[in-house]
């Protein structure tokens, strides 16, 4: 559930191209560093020692100076050639990033909020669209075209195992295309400082087989499950009647707020509060009672409900697979 969060563990073609570029850069730079340090070490080792009182050598020995000049010229020529090689490697990787075929892409609208991610799948098709938050599911092997928008300040989308960053800038729209080639859970985190809780704005991408993805997708498009026992029914009633519904939406109920993550299928997500707490029954109840304890500054206020009501809300939300 933790997810892989590592630029050196690529799971898609773009991250792989970047990984190759990184390796090339690392090798070339290490060699350059080692050669330069070796030259310095040899110079230090071979040069004679003197004291402050020694008179300075003003008359250069022509042969020695010529040898030094040759070394410097070769050094600069070598560095320039290596830089040129790296430059072309960089351009090549850049092309690889934008060469992802986009046929049959999954379309997602991703909106950055302080401090969570709002996602709308297939936004152009009213038959297919549904909303979720902080956790994306994508089919392995199919490109995903994500349209990025920011609701308030600048955020940055970054899932290192899939691809590099793209900023979400207010007033501007950008897109990023990614593809996961391996099944797995990949973690990402907002990478542009966005204020108070920038530290807790994680995004999880679950890459799964096309069959599992289709199952997940058809489940997401359904309205929320009906309560299956009295406690859950009580929980649903409370959600609809108390402050929960002011901000959160649960499709199929009267809760229709749009200021906060959609909870229609919240039980299927691994984390709450954009990576703030794991979605376990105990932590979920604590989160609902006082989210500020885990994520100070989050918009969700502490709510004042009796213990059994809290248990009912938590049980109901826990049933929303």
């Amino acid at each position: 559930m933790n997810g892989i969060h590592d630029a050196l563990a690529p799971a898609g073609p773009q991250a792989l191209a970047l990984f190759h570029l990184w390796n090339a850069m690392l090798v070339v730079c290490t060699v350059v560093f080692a050669l330069t340090m070796a030259a310095l070490a040899i110079a230090l080792w071979r040069a004679p020692r003197a004291t402050e009182r020694a008179s300075a050598d003003l008359d250069a020995q022509p042969r020695k100076e010529a040898a030094l000049r040759r070394s410097v010229v070769w050094g600069i020529a070598g560095s320039s050639v290596l830089l040129l090689v790296l430059l072309f490697a960089s351009f090549y990787a850049d092309r690889a990033l934008s060469a992802l075929p986009l046929a049959d892409a999954v379309h997602i609208d991703l909106v950055g909020h302080r401090f969570w991610w709002e996602a709308h799948y297939e936004p152009h098709d009213p038959e297919q669209t549904f909303a979720t938050a902080n956790e994306l599911h994508v089919p392995v092997g199919r490109p995903v075209l994500i349209r990025l928008r920011a609701d308030d300040v600048i955020h940055s989308f970054w899932v290192p195992s899939l691809s590099g960053k793209k900023d979400l800038i207010p007033g501007r729209e950008s897109t990023i295309a990614v593809r996961a080639d391996r099944v797995g859970t990949y973690r990402g985190q907002c990478a542009e400082f966005c204020g108070y809780q920038h530290a807790q704005m994680a995004l999880v991408v679950v890459a799964e087989t096309p069959e599992r993805y289709e199952r997940w997708r058809s489940l997401q498009r359904e309205p929320a499950h009906a309560p299956s026992d009295a406690q859950q029914a009580r929980g649903r009633e409370l959600v609809e009647q108390t402050s929960c519904a002011m901000c959160h939406a649960i499709v199929g109920t009267r809760a229709g707020g749009r200021r906060a993550p959609d909870l229609t299928h919240v039980a299927g997500r691994g984390w709450l509060g954009a990576g703030a707490v794991a979605n376990t029954p105990k932590l979920r109840a604590e989160w609902i009672a006082n989210a500020q304890k885990f994520k100070p500054g989050v918009d969700m206020p502490p709510i004042d409900v009796a213990a059994d009501d809290l248990a009912a809300i938590s049980a109901y939300l826990g049933s929303l697979e």
Partner: protein, 665 residues
């Protein structure tokens, strides 16, 4: 010894020759040219004395005092910012740490960056230039010392203002880059961003004023014979930096003011909902912000180029190549700013140009590194603490420079941008490229400034601990960045796996603290307890600052030197050694031509005055007032207007005296 005779007084309007000492006006004229102990030297000492009392102390405009004030104040602020850095590493040493809350942490890193960039790095380099450049080029003061004095007070008040704001929980909290809209009217709460905008306006005004002073000093007040080709490399570095500052600083002043207008007056420069653009700020900021790195780095290259020849006992290999590299670096540094914005949706082809530029700027730096290594290879080495710090500079800077090439590549930058990889890179560049040379420079010029040499043993301990500490603190951050750790997060969960390396980094920070403590002990021991006095030229160096006593007399030179080589002390001029015949009773000097440094006109340095202090104070009142009230932005302009009017008010008596000195050469 021969000397240039009394210079023909050219019938040219002289600058303000201010002398309020009526006695000087009626005594028979004494001309300079004789060495220490002579009548002329005594008279010069008297002429360059500071006025007594607090007013005198506030009025001082001698470049040495100003330079020292800049350096000491900058180190004071750096100490505070260093403590903030230590707190942050302590907070991040463990996962889910609750030592500091998000609000305080955000203020901490914003203050750390702002202080280190605006209140430490730029002023400390300018302070060194103010102190060393006039001595190195053989003049008695800078060209516009009152402007630099005003700049110092602006800087001090600006810094105190910022720390005062921080102490009252109003410190900036949107980073040292203050991206809008986070710092804009809608999301930047309270007065925090306002104080940042004010501080930036301050420090940029300071930087500009000092840069203008240094540029003019270098171009017009060099010793006769010090043509541009004979000019020491440190002076070249200062010149390049100052010209860059003049071009880059106005951009960020403009930007900060536009943000302030958005916040204060409700303009919409950066508000996309009203037709503004959030990305515009990034262009304005980084067009200044990238050259800013080079304002810090290029003077440091100058330090290295000043120190290596002394400790290799030979002139610099490839002097001309180094000069060209400095100038090229200065130009290229203006073409890199977009590499801070690769993750935005700018056109991809355009970004590739910036990749090419970012790679290209590595070439002049590589050339300098090779020339330095060649100098070392062709010299005889004196292993002293300043030289050790230069060697440390090679190691640390090389790592920072190579990761810089990685960051310059668009695709790779997309992975590591805004992660701890960048934190590692920038600390390697700034500590390796600036702090190591800065310590080298401190150890090197300390005897010149104080007359006492810092302890060698403690100096070596300081170096080795600092070297180990810096690498231990910052190397692991590269790996953390690749493992996905973003910058500017106040905490992280244990599931991320970032804890062990963060702990290593925190341990490195403790080693840095110990090394800084050793440095402080060395300073205190040397300044307060050491009896042994340093000679005029304790390192056997070749440039002009070492020709005068340590510490130098207030007027620097009893006779202005004449120069005919790059290292005048190693190869003294054969014929003419110094200028003779300037007045010893007013603060008189000599201007020379820009390129060849041929004697041009006599020049009277400004006398010390209280007005620079008053002007800086009145500007402070204006800026603080304008933070709290919009009308204050208008009415607050009255005090500075008055102060500057009075400062420049013509004085008939002085004008008459000027005329007298003009007619009577």
């Amino acid at each position: 010894m021969e000397s240039v005779g009394a210079l023909p007084s050219r019938p040219r309007p002289r600058k303000r020759a201010r002398t309020r000492s009526a006695a000087a006006a009626h005594r028979p004229m004494v001309r300079d040219g004789d060495g220490p102990g002579s009548r002329a030297a005594e008279e010069l000492e008297r002429t360059w004395q500071e006025k007594p009392g607090l007013v005198g102390w506030l009025s001082i405009n001698n470049h040495k005092t100003l330079g020292l004030r800049f350096v000491v104040t900058a180190f004071f602020f750096a100490g505070l910012a260093g403590v903030m850095g230590g707190l942050m590493r302590h907070q991040l040493a463990t996962a889910n740490s609750h030592l500091l809350g998000p609000d305080f942490y955000n203020q901490l890193f914003s203050m750390h960056g702002t202080t280190m960039m605006f209140l430490f790095a730029v002023p400390v380099m300018q302070g060194f230039a103010l102190y060393i450049v006039p001595l190195m080029i053989g003049t008695r003061n800078t060209a516009f010392p009152r402007m630099s004095a005003c700049a110092y007070w602006l800087y001090l008040f600006g810094g105190l203002l910022l720390f005062g704001a921080f102490a009252t929980n109003t410190g900036p909290d949107a980073g040292w880059f203050e991206y809008v809209p986070l710092a804009g009217p809608q999301y930047g709460i309270g007065k925090r961003a306002d104080f940042w905008n004010m501080l930036v306006t301050y420090s940029e005004a300071m930087g500009l004023m000092v840069a203008v002073d240094i540029t003019t000093t270098i171009l017009k007040l060099r010793a006769p014979g010090m043509s541009l080709r004979q000019m020491p490399l440190f002076v070249w570095a200062s010149l390049v930096t100052s010209v860059m500052i003049i071009f880059a600083m106005p951009l960020v002043m403009l930007g900060a003011n536009l943000v302030q207008f958005d916040r204060m007056l409700g303009t919409h420069f950066f508000n996309p909902a009203e037709g503004g653009d959030a990305l515009l700020w990034q262009h304005l900021f980084w067009f200044f912000g990238h050259p800013e790195v080079y304002f810090i780095f290029i003077p440091a290259l100058g330090f290295v180029s000043a120190i290596i020849p002394t400790f290799a006992r030979r002139p610099m290999f490839g002097h001309d190549a180094i000069v060209l590299s400095l100038v090229t670096t200065g130009f290229l540094s203006f073409g890199l700013w977009v590499h801070h914005m690769f993750a935005t949706n700018l056109p991809e082809l355009g970004k590739s140009f910036f990749t090419a530029m970012s790679f290209m700027i590595a070439i002049p730096t590589a050339l300098q590194i090779f020339c330095w290594i060649a100098t070392i290879a062709g010299g005889r080495l004196v292993m002293r603490t300043p030289f050790l710090f230069v060697l440390g500079f090679f190691f640390v800077l090389m790592i920072g420079g190579l990761t810089g090439i990685m960051l310059g590549s668009v695709p790779l930058d997309l992975q590591v941008h805004d992660t701890y990889f960048v934190v590692a890179h920038l600390h390697y560049v700034l500590i390796g490229g600036a702090v190591f040379p800065l310590f080298a420079a401190l150890y090197y010029w300390f005897p010149k400034v104080t007359g006492k040499q810092l302890g060698e043993t403690l100096g070596k301990w300081h170096f080795w601990l600092f070297f180990i500490g810096v690498n231990l603190t910052f190397f692991p951050l590269h790996i953390l960045g690749l493992e996905g750790m973003p910058r500017r997060i106040y905490t992280y969960g244990a599931e991320t796996g970032w804890e062990p390396l963060s702990m290593v980094s925190a341990v490195g920070q403790v080693i840095n603290d110990v090394s800084t403590l050793i440095f402080a002990i060395n300073l205190i021991r040397t300044v307060f307890f050491k009896k042994e006095r340093a000679s005029a030229d304790p390192w056997g160096a070749g440039t002009l600052e070492w020709s005068v006593a340590s510490p130098p007399p207030r007027c620097n030179f009893f006779a202005l030197p004449v120069v005919s080589s790059r290292e005048p002390l190693w190869a003294p001029p054969a014929e003419v050694t110094h200028v003779q015949g300037l007045s010893a009773q007013i603060r008189e000097g000599l201007t020379t031509t820009v390129i060849d440094a041929l004697p041009d006109t006599r020049y009277a340095y400004p006398e010390p005055e209280i007005w620079p202090f008053v002007a800086a104070l009145s500007v402070t009142i204006w800026l603080v007032w304008s933070v709290w009230s919009v009308p204050g932005f208008v009415w607050g302009l009255i005090p500075p207007a008055l102060a500057f009017l009075l400062w420049y008010w013509p004085n008939k008596k002085e004008a008459k005296e000027e005329l007298r000195w003009e007619r009577e050469p």
